[in-house]
């Protein structure tokens, strides 16, 4: 059955049992997996900075400001994931100008916006002294930027600095509530839907907040380790210990609540529980295994590290390892919730198996680019604030190089160029030439010859078939996708097996979207 679906060129995901026909295309893909993941990192990183700024836990001083910058760079990329998911991103601001208040999405722009302002304010207070210093020492354009950033507040007297600290403390305090609120809200978006058994749960916001904190503390730990290594700075063991304690505590609570969630769902055994069990054993089994194993191992490691008071390189090594595992575990958890929920059919009679595409808007490459983008931005921001850092400042050329490398990697990742000569022309030659070579029947009827780039772009006698950069309006794509009337759909075959393969169609689509160049 699956092979038939694929042979027919359907975009549907394979399914078993009975699912509603419209369900075979998942409304939300990897971007909506990435989105709550990134906002989760924001919440977690922020909480750590608040432990220092609001509660005065001195051991977190080395990471406190880094945490704020991390939170900001994650927060910058979270909306990108959402926007690129929208069918009409140009209308996104309608949700802010004319919100529909009954929607769990409606206040999102405001909540995130409020949080962003709060964060920027707190960063300004926390970094003001450095900005003033940089404004005095930097020359040229950068000097201008720093002078602008001071907002005319150049006073670095003791009184002024104490004032900064007081405001940082207050803002961080409000920030804890907003960070938890923002992420609890994301959980509510899922938990409040009664249509999906897998999501509909009162525990959803709590699980989202807790796992967010785990992933955020983990990513901060990793950033701290890596940046210290790169800067050849000494890693503060007390700080790492503190992070280990926070991580350990939140991890335990998260695991317990998640276990309760599963236990409750399976114990209640309402209608459809059989399908839930099959979902766990089937489509999301790998994701769940990653979630469980990658949280279990760090729990053991952290317990040992804390119980045995491990220090030195062992502490740093094992903590980094745990952090990587936990970040993966939380990412897997997001997948299991977002994708798993949609793989369980609303009919309670079937399952869908979703595999994300590699390329395209909902593709893995774009999602990973967004994730790496957050780190690239963080590099850029740390560069701006490097004058008075907790460790030794990294030399500028190195940072620039790293930042540039990250950017190049992202750009290269996003835009794999499809070549007309190597990718597109062979498909046309194999599948279309029979009728669309000069003098062949299709060419005589429609005037479309595919013998060369020029003739292909010229189109039929009725007009062009390809509009560079716009696959949606390119008739060629409509025809090969068999979205048009059967009498003109191409290639002419009553059976889907005779049509172009989905990967061939997507190549043509990408090529057109990239400008349909003669490359």
């Amino acid at each position: 059955m699956d092979t038939f679906i694929q042979a027919a060129g359907y975009i549907a995901s394979p399914f078993s049992g009975y699912v509603y026909p419209n369900e075979t295309v998942l409304p939300w893909g990897v971007l909506i997996v990435i989105y709550p993941y990134i906002t989760g990192l924001v919440a977690g990183a922020f909480i750590v900075s608040s432990l220092y700024h609001t509660f005065g836990m001195e051991q977190f001083k080395p990471v406190a400001r880094m945490a704020l910058l991390s939170a900001l760079s994650f927060l910058c990329f979270a909306p990108v994931a959402l926007l690129s998911h929208l069918g009409h991103p140009e209308r996104a601001f309608e949700a802010i100008w004319t919100p529909h208040w009954t929607s769990a999405f409606a206040a999102f722009g405001y909540v995130a916006g409020f949080y962003a302002i709060l964060l920027v304010l707190e960063i300004w207070f926390a970094f003001r002294v450095d900005i003033v210093a940089m404004a005095h020492t930097s020359k040229g354009a950068m000097g201008w930027i720093y002078r602008l950033l001071t907002l005319g507040s150049n006073d670095v007297s003791e009184r002024a600095v104490a004032y900064d600290r007081k405001w940082t403390q207050i803002l961080a305090g409000i920030g804890i509530a907003s960070a938890a609120g923002l992420h609890g809200y994301v959980g509510f978006v899922f938990g409040s839907l009664k249509s999906r058994e897998w999501w509909s749960s009162d525990l959803m916001p709590i699980i989202f907040i807790l796992s967010a904190i785990v992933s955020g503390v983990a990513v901060l730990t990793l950033i701290y380790m890596v940046s210290s290594k790169v800067r050849k700075a000494v890693i503060d063991e007390n700080c790492v210990k503190g992070l280990a304690r926070v991580l350990w505590a939140f991890l335990i609570v998260t695991l317990v609540i998640e276990a309760l969630e599963y236990a409750e769902m399976l114990y209640r055994r309402v209608e459809g529980v059989e399908m839930v069990k099959r979902l766990i054993a089937g489509p999301i089994s790998v994701g769940l295994a990653i979630q469980v194993v990658f949280s279990g191992i760090p729990l053991v490691i952290l317990t040992v590290l804390l119980a045995r008071n491990v220090r030195g390189r062992a502490l740093v090594g094992w903590m980094s390892f745990s952090a990587v595992l936990l970040m993966s575990a939380v990412l897997a958890m997001r997948w299991n919730v977002v994708i798993g929920g949609q793989e369980l059919s609303k009919t309670a009679k079937g399952l869908i198996t979703y595999t994300p595409p590699v390329w395209g808007r909902e593709g893995v490459v774009w999602a990973l680019s967004l994730l790496s983008g957050t780190f690239a931005l963080l590099w850029a921001m740390t560069r701006l604030s490097e004058c008075r850092n907790e460790g030794k400042a990294m030399s500028k050329p190195n940072l620039v190089k790293l930042g540039a490398l990250a950017l190049v990697a992202i750009v290269a990742g996003c835009t794999k160029q499809v070549s007309f000569r190597n990718d597109i022309f062979p498909i046309l030659k194999e599948r279309c030439f029979v009728c669309h070579a000069p003098g062949a029947p299709g060419c005589l009827t429609s005037g479309l010859s595919m013998e060369s780039y020029a003739s292909l772009m010229k189109g039929t006698k009725f007009g062009p078939m390809i509009i560079p950069g716009n696959s949606l309006d390119s008739n060629l794509l409509r025809l090969v996708k068999h979205q048009a009337d059967p009498s003109i759909a191409m290639p002419r075959s009553p059976k889907p097996s005779g049509w172009l393969k989905p990967e061939q169609i997507s190549l043509i689509e990408t090529w057109i979207n990239q400008g349909a160049k003669d490359n």
């Binding site: 699912v19 026909p21 419209n22 929208l86 009409h88 991103p89």
Partner: protein
């Protein structure tokens, strides 16, 4: 906030401009019946009251949407699974001809001898697509030919046009709304394409249209019913398995159907108040 009030809010925001635009278009087309257009124009030109009630003249000229309460009936005892309704809907509403986008579809429930669970499929099942040979044709393959069938029936499905539609509740911009005559519509010029409504519908009635990059769903052929016609699927049904009409009219097909049958709605536990009434289905249908 009641759903009708929400719908009213949307009208206030969006309704008048689009109403004016549509009126103008109508005026241009029907220049010969200038009087009608003038009447419509006068209605549109009336100043909006401070708290907008539904204006009697909705987006459609010569149609008072405050005077109707539409509802739909499905008589599963009659349906023969010919799928003409599915085809008619695709053509009438320009639904993409692929096996994952439907405004309406038909499910088949088959109880084989010795089995207590129904086997369910729709026209989108790969076996049925293979039998039809192309996604433009719809056919239920005779896949149970060699087995002993205990009980079997077909169930047409479509948007339930709920009293409290969860899709309308979750739309972040109010692009989908409920009209005063009980129909849930989507403004495709306003939809941002977030697909939250697709998630929120427990019936799988909504799909994301790749061409318009907006959500789409059954409108009960609003463009037809407001002209006194029946929805396309009702029109083509050869056995009257699909019933449509006005609940405000006790003599309408739907009022008679509900009065003379013991009808049921799907997933009543959701509290959505679905307005498609079924006769002849069993508990297995959801």
């Amino acid at each position: 906030m009641s759903e009708s009030k929400i719908a009213k809010d949307q009208l206030g925001r969006r309704g008048f401009m689009s109403l004016l635009g549509k009126m103008c278009a109508t005026t241009a087309v029907c220049s010969s019946v200038a009087a009608v257009a003038l009447e419509g124009g006068a209605a549109a030109a009336k100043p909006a009251p401070a708290k907008p009630e539904f204006p009697a003249a909705g987006p459609v000229p010569d149609y008072d949407w405050t005077k109707h309460r539409w509802a739909f009936g499905v008589d599963a005892e009659r349906c023969i699974g010919c799928l003409r309704c599915v085809e008619a809907c695709k053509v009438e509403n320009k639904v993409p001809f692929n096996p994952n986008d439907f405004r309406t579809w038909v499910e088949r429930y088959v109880y084989l001898d010795g089995e207590d669970k129904a086997r369910v499929d729709s026209q989108s099942d790969p076996v049925n697509i293979a039998a039809a040979q192309s996604p433009q044709d719809y056919r239920f393959s005779n896949r149970y030919r060699d087995q002993k069938v205990k009980k079997a029936f077909f169930v047409p499905k479509l948007c339930n046009h709920c009293e409290n539609p969860p899709c309308v509740q979750v739309c972040p911009v109010g692009a989908t709304y409920k009209t005063p005559d009980g129909v849930v519509l989507i403004d495709e010029k306003y939809c941002i394409g977030c697909r939250y409504c697709v998630q929120a519908c427990p019936y799988g009635a909504r799909y994301f249209n790749e061409e318009t990059q907006t959500t789409d769903k059954c409108t009960w052929c609003y463009h037809r019913i407001t002209k006194g016609l029946k929805p396309a699927c009702v029109e083509v049904c050869p056995v009257n398995a699909r019933i449509f009409g006005d609940l405000n009219d006790p003599a309408s097909d739907i009022s008679v159907f509900i009065r003379t049958h013991r009808v049921n709605v799907l997933k009543a536990w959701t509290g959505n108040g679905p307005h498609v009434f079924y006769n002849g289905i069993d508990g297995e249908v959801s």
